[in-house]
């Protein structure tokens, strides 16, 4: 089991994530896993009872999870949003900007290395799901 890299203050969610199909059929699950070809918007009616949404990255090249994450944050999801799978250290900064706050990479990544890589993306040009002000906002107040 890959080690978890977490950027949240609360406790890690205990319940295992069920598939989207299972989740939509159940009434009491609080954790769900999204595959790349599944529609994140299907979860929008249930966001307030979800404690964990895990987004699968079977290959690091498949960037659909980045959109899924932003869509969920844009819809107001505040629970844990986890990127799981072929997650590489140089992607963490982008993933965090899209709203991911925990990472379960197949190949373990140390927190120190992740933070070092992320620090290269302090100043950003565009608005995303994180709280960072884009450069144009810094320029014009």
């Amino acid at each position: 089991m890959a080690e978890l890299l977490r950027y949240r203050d609360d406790e890690a969610h205990e319940e295992p994530a069920v598939t989207l199909d299972a989740f939509l059929g159940q009434t009491n699950a609080t954790a769900v896993r999204l595959e790349p070809d599944e529609d994140a918007r299907a979860l929008i009616p249930y966001l307030d009872r979800l404690g964990l949404i895990e987004v699968a990255f079977p290959t690091f090249r498949d960037g659909r999870g980045y959109s899924a994450a932003r869509i969920l944050r844009e819809a107001g999801y505040t629970g844990e949003l986890r990127a799981q799978g072929d997650v590489l250290i140089d992607q963490i900064a982008y993933m965090r900007r899209c709203g991911f706050d925990s990472f379960a990479p197949e190949k373990p990544i140390s927190r120190e290395a992740a933070d070092r890589a992320a620090a290269f993306h302090d100043i950003v040009y565009q608005k995303a799901a994180d709280r960072r002000s884009p450069v144009w906002a810094l320029r014009h107040g």
Partner: protein
């Protein structure tokens, strides 16, 4: 032209540091080639046929003389004394060492340049009209909008792992000098009936294995909303573009498969949500950028007369200059297509000379065209002769703009590991066959484009005459196409029939050209005659 502020500079400097870190980790074996490849591609560093190749970004094709000198310096210090200007207005260096790549990026950063996102499955260099800010027919300079998009697309966290590469072009005139209908997204600046400023949006054009002309997805989007609208376009692509097949992963396939109407509907639906997120920069940001594109301090009261007594100069004047919106000025085009030369290549000395000439004669500014030539956009008519003499002395004065020897050619099998056949020797042979300038001028506008493989980096689908190099049982073979156009009358070339070897293709081109001459009516270009009479007469002449 745009000048970085502290934020722009920090971003570029940080990228250099990040890449240096990634290269160090690669050389130390902390990351594999498979993991490193997308990182180096996002910095424009390819592993090519002979060595690493670095593609430096030239945003919307605009360069200052200072930047041009740095490009010469890089060619000398890190490469083998030359660079190659590409069909996307960038420059490529073919002999780069990985261990030096971070130093090259550091040098580039000192003149506000970079190699960010010139490769990879992300948004690439935003291209534009090479006559922007000088042509009389634009409704405004398209480049500040291109700069706005450059910033929006740089390190975009959601769109860095797209199904495939993404190319955007912006123009501001009816005449399309940037082939916007053959881009993933093409934007044409225009006014609606109410006089508001905005863009006509084309989505889903492209060449390669399945060439397509882009449909209009939205006839008008206001400039106030176009960034969030593009965000919606990209998000729909990122979510639904095909990822099962590398050759079906561009947005043109998605638009084609679900239909333009359905794609437009999905974008509208996404945009209804995305436009509420405050993604659009405020008008003040555009105004800040646009101020850098104010016209240079043109002189007034200048004469229009030009002494044509030097016949060679007169030829160059007629072919290689274009009218300027400012009285007394002209746009000058420097040909990088000397007969027998390598299309788009320039030596470090030539690059330095062009920088000097830009400084002296063109308010310090140059442009790279997607036809692999260089433009000096603002030259006093009175200076054209002195400019031409200097160019002529350096092999840069060929008077062949848009003539048959002004060939667009990709690097081909001489340089590119994707290629199936060599393209440069074909370009050289054809140019030599038609070396006589009188003959070229008689033939008139004839855009000949050569690609060494189906990836179509030579834009052969958009050539009046197009040539595609293929591998036929281990031998180089060349297919001939007619009738393509990358202008506002966009069309895709049609194959004539069986292919030719390297001598046969030159003969076939000559037969086609002679057929045109025999059939043309007054004022018709090759393209016009072909469109009027069709393929049959050409086929008969070529295949006998």
């Amino acid at each position: 032209m745009y000048k970085y502020d502290e934020y722009d500079q920090t971003i570029v400097d940080t990228r250099v540091a990040e890449f240096r870190d990634q290269v160090t980790r690669r050389i130390a074996g902390e990351i594999t080639e498979d993991q490193f490849k997308p990182l180096r591609l996002m910095n424009g560093l390819y592993l090519q046929l002979h060595a690493y190749m670095l593609r430096v970004a030239v945003p919307y094709g605009t360069l200052s003389s200072r930047q041009m000198r740095m490009l010469a310096h890089i060619a000398r210090k890190y490469d083998r004394g030359y660079g190659h200007f590409t069909t996307r207005q960038n420059i490529q260096y073919n002999w780069i060492k990985l261990e030096q790549a971070p130093d090259i990026l550091a040098d580039l950063a000192t003149v506000q340049m970079h190699a960010i996102q010139t490769s990879g499955n992300c948004i690439r260099n935003i291209s534009s009209d090479q006559y922007a800010g000088a042509a009389a027919d634009e409704i405004g300079d398209p480049r500040p909008w291109a700069e706005l998009l450059r910033q929006w697309s740089t390190f975009h966290p959601e769109f860095s792992y797209l199904p495939r590469k993404f190319k955007i072009a912006v123009i501001a005139s009816e005449q399309d000098r940037a082939a916007i209908q053959l881009h993933d997204i093409g934007l044409q600046l225009r006014r609606n009936e109410a006089g508001e400023l905005g863009f006509r949006v084309y989505v889903g054009g492209g060449m390669g294995r399945t060439p397509m002309v882009a449909p209009v997805i939205r006839d008008f989007i206001s400039t106030a909303d176009f960034v969030s609208y593009l965000e919606a376009c990209l998000r729909v692509y990122n979510r639904y573009g095909r990822r099962d097949n590398l050759f079906k992963a561009r947005i043109k396939i998605l638009v084609h498969e679900i239909g333009a109407e359905e794609y437009a509907r999905q974008v509208e639906e996404e945009w209804a949500h995305v436009k509420t997120l405050g993604l659009d920069p405020p008008p003040g940001e555009f105004e800040r950028i646009a101020a850098y594109f104010a016209p240079p301090p043109f002189e007034t009261g200048l004469g229009e007369d030009i002494d044509r007594s030097d016949p060679d100069f007169a030829l160059w004047l007629d072919s290689n200059t274009h009218p300027h919106k400012q009285p007394g000025y002209a746009i000058a085009v420097i040909s990088l297509k000397p007969v027998g030369g390598i299309p788009g290549d320039a030596s470090a000395d030539q690059i330095d000379l062009m920088a000097d000439l830009a400084e002296r004669y063109s308010f310090d500014e140059l442009r790279v065209t997607h036809a692999q030539n260089i433009v000096l956009p603002h030259v006093r008519k009175a200076d054209l002769y002195a400019l031409w003499k200097a160019l002529d002395g350096a092999g840069l004065g060929t008077a062949n703009l848009d003539l048959i020897s002004d060939i667009i050619a990709c690097p081909g099998l001489d340089y590119c590991s994707l290629a199936n056949a060599r393209s440069i020797p074909i370009a050289q042979k054809i140019a030599q066959r038609f070396a006589n300038l009188d003959r070229q001028r008689d033939l008139g506008e004839l855009k000949l484009k050569i690609s060494g493989c189906i990836n179509a980096c030579g834009h052969h689908h958009a050539g009046h005459i197009g040539i595609l190099g293929v591998d036929r049982k281990g031998e180089e073979n060349y297919q001939l196409l007619f009738g393509g156009s990358g202008a506002e009358d966009a069309s895709l070339g049609k194959i004539t029939g069986p292919g030719f070897n390297e001598d046969g293709i030159v003969d076939a081109v000559e037969k086609a050209v002679e057929t045109y001459r025999a059939l043309r009516t007054d004022g018709e270009r090759f393209l016009d005659t072909y469109r009027r009479v069709g393929m049959q007469p050409f086929k008969e002449a070529i295949y006998g």
